[in-house]
């Protein structure tokens, strides 16, 4: 599978081109930019994973169960120690560590969830072979199009130039 990738000098230019390509059903589109561009969901389709926040919630719940569970098990079951006649299951004393475990579990889930959903780490990617692509983290907006149908890909390169791209390069492989 191969397509085209084109550099635009402004976010608006790249977004306008993305909308045109979307309306023409040109194929799969992705935008690479130095910062998140406003209104891109509307042009590219909203791909934000709904499961990521739920994973974070699950991480927090798991942290709570483990954090409280370890304290309960060690203090009540495994090593009961009478300290001044206080109850073995002293719930208020377990609150601080349980809270910290919730935050730790949820934060680890958010971190791992980000990398899993972004499919990182992946040190080499096809786009890194495109000459001049370094500018995507500096000041250029790169729009990649990979045709899904059997349209001749060469036309797409010409279309990108027509849409105002300042530079168009072939892209080998999925963006």
């Amino acid at each position: 599978m191969s397509g085209w990738i084109a550099a635009f000098s402004s976010a608006d230019g790249a977004l306008a081109a993305a909308r045109q390509l979307r309306d023409a059903r040109a194929g799969r589109i992705e935008l690479f930019a130095p910062y998140p561009v406003e209104g891109v969901e509307e042009a590219l389709g909203d791909t934000r994973p709904r499961w990521l926040p739920r994973l974070v919630l699950a991480g927090g719940v798991l942290g709570l169960v483990l954090g409280y569970g370890v304290q309960w098990y060690t203090t009540v079951v495994s090593y009961p120690l009478d300290v001044g006649g206080r109850p073995l299951h002293s719930a208020p004393a377990f609150v601080p560590i349980s809270f910290e475990s919730v935050v730790l579990g949820a934060a680890l889930a958010a971190f791992v969830g980000f990398f899993a959903s972004a499919r990182l780490p992946r040190l080499w990617q096809p786009v890194f072979e495109v000459p001049g692509f370094e500018s995507a983290t500096r000041d250029r907006f790169w729009l990649a199009v990979v045709p899904t149908s059997s349209d001749p890909a060469a036309d797409l390169g010409a279309t990108l130039v027509d849409l105002g791209a300042e530079r168009v390069e072939p892209l080998e492989g999925a963006p």
Binding site: F32, Q71, T74, S78, E100, S117, T137
Partner: protein
């Protein structure tokens, strides 16, 4: 000179001028790739000094490990002293970074963007210093893993009804979450550094740490979700960590410690010293790297106002402590609050604390002090001295004068105590200096986004 014009206006902008994306990227990457000969020389000189101080730290740690904590001035009844004072001071300093990053992100304060990474790095390095002290204080630090609940052949577990395992959990969580938050925020800028690196080796190094970030909207969207969630998690965490540290004191029955105001009092004190440390680091860094357009008078002004607010809150906490001591009618509470602290052997520390923490911040009512580097730096250093002294007063005066005069005692630090304090400052400085030259310390992508999406946010109304 940009600063001089900004002072006269009601509110200075967050970002001066309208630098282009390319210009901004290059300017913010220049400290790591081409800092200029004067900056590079000055940096090397400071690194040399910090290495010396870190060496002193190493010697003092070596003395502690070989001689035992008998090398310190601690003894019964003052069993805590410098180690715990330093611990609370450093962990307190470590609170401002995450507060600035996470809390101000949730409140959409645009001025946070220029300084959050520096503040977060400060947090990480301060928490590293803080973590060392309780471990050294264990006496046999090589058994520190006893604090972790692992199934040992002895069948013994940590005592979770004691505040000390709470502390260990809080600090470990705080260090981990702060690091994750910092690294996630850094990822796009590491990719920027990768793409602008002048040599192949550096390109590869930054490439490995950027983990393949390509700036696609797929990455940005997920990044934004995860970063926002981490900010939401880090904000209550900041509050919880110093609250838990304060419980080390508050759940003991000692006069001057056993008080319900301790958690909020400690959190405010932590933020107070943390903001002061951010100012202490930011003022010289801004000057040395010529960042007056990115870190403007408005940043200094906002930080100074936050510091002043914390100063007023800490004053309230002091007054409240005195009032409660008097109002309880408890003989021992009254003795600590009105006799042993203000008039006893450590009265000098007590009055120094009041001068630095209660009087000094009032200079921040003056706009001239808030927006000019040097006077602001002076106030910030005074506040840090004051906050260290406050922890000294809390720990040492209470321990040396408990209920029975027969168990009273005194305390004097040894050279090892002083070397550990000074050495930890040196080690902190060393880590911070390395950070300045290794990663982009002003968030590049965030500033570009700020410039692009909220142009009004950059003007006087921000």
């Amino acid at each position: 000179m940009a600063e001089a014009t900004a002072i006269g206006r009601p509110a200075a902008p967050v970002l001066e001028g309208r630098p282009g994306d390319a210009e901004l990227t290059d300017a913010l990457l220049s400290p790591i790739f081409q800092p200029g000969p004067r900056v590079a020389r000055g940096w090397l000189l400071l690194v040399g000094l910090a290495v010396l101080a870190t060496g002193v730290f190493g010697v003092a740690i070596g003395a502690t490990l070989t001689l035992g904590i008998g090398a310190w001035g601690n003894d019964i009844p003052v069993a805590w002293a410098f180690a715990i004072v330093n611990f609370v001071w450093w962990i307190g300093i470590g609170h401002a970074g995450t507060f600035i990053s996470a809390f101000l992100l949730l409140l959409q304060q645009s001025w946070r963007s220029s300084i959050n990474r520096l503040a977060e790095a400060m947090t990480l390095f301060a928490v590293v210093q803080a973590g060392l002290f309780p471990i050294l204080h264990l006496g046999r630090p090589w058994f520190f893993y006893y604090l972790v609940p692992y199934p040992a052949t002895t069948g013994v577990w940590p005592q979770f009804r004691s505040a000390l395992p709470w502390d260990a959990a809080a600090i470990f969580t705080y260090l981990t979450v702060s690091f994750l938050f910092w690294y996630l925020g850094l990822l796009p800028d590491l990719a920027s550094a990768r793409d602008r690196a002048p040599t192949r080796l550096r390109q590869r190094l930054y490439g490995v740490f950027a983990l393949g970030w390509n700036g696609s909207m797929r990455h940005w969207h997920r990044h934004r979700i995860a970063y926002g969630l981490l900010a939401g998690l880090a904000t209550p965490l900041v509050i919880s960590v110093h609250s838990i540290v304060s419980l080390d004191f508050a759940i003991a029955s000692l006069p001057g410690w056993h008080s319900t105001i301790f958690p909020p009092y400690f959190v405010v004190g932590a933020l107070y010293s943390g903001f002061a440390m951010v100012i202490t680091l930011l003022v010289p860094v801004r000057r040395a790297f010529g960042l007056e357009r990115v870190v403007t008078a408005r940043h200094l002004d906002a930080l100074a106002k936050l510091t002043l607010a914390m100063g007023l809150l800490i004053t309230y906490a002091y007054v409240c402590e005195l009032f409660t001591a008097w109002y309880t009618g408890d003989l021992y509470e009254r003795y600590v609050a009105f006799v042993s602290r203000p008039l006893g052997g450590f009265a000098g520390a007590y009055w120094l604390m009041l001068a630095c923490n209660v009087l000094a911040p009032h200079l921040l009512w003056l706009r001239r002090v808030r927006t000019r580097g040097l006077p602001l730096l002076g106030v910030a250093v005074l506040i840090q001295v004051g906050m260290w002294t406050e922890r000294f007063v809390i720990v040492v005066t209470s321990l040396s004068r408990d209920f029975l005069p027969s168990s009273w005692g005194s305390y004097a630090p040894t050279w090892v105590d002083w070397s550990l304090l000074g050495g930890s400052i040196g080690f902190f400085g060393l880590l911070f200096l390395l950070f300045l030259r290794v990663v982009p310390f002003v968030p590049i992508a965030e500033l570009k986004e700020l410039r692009e999406t909220r142009p009004e946010g950059l003007e006087a109304t921000a």
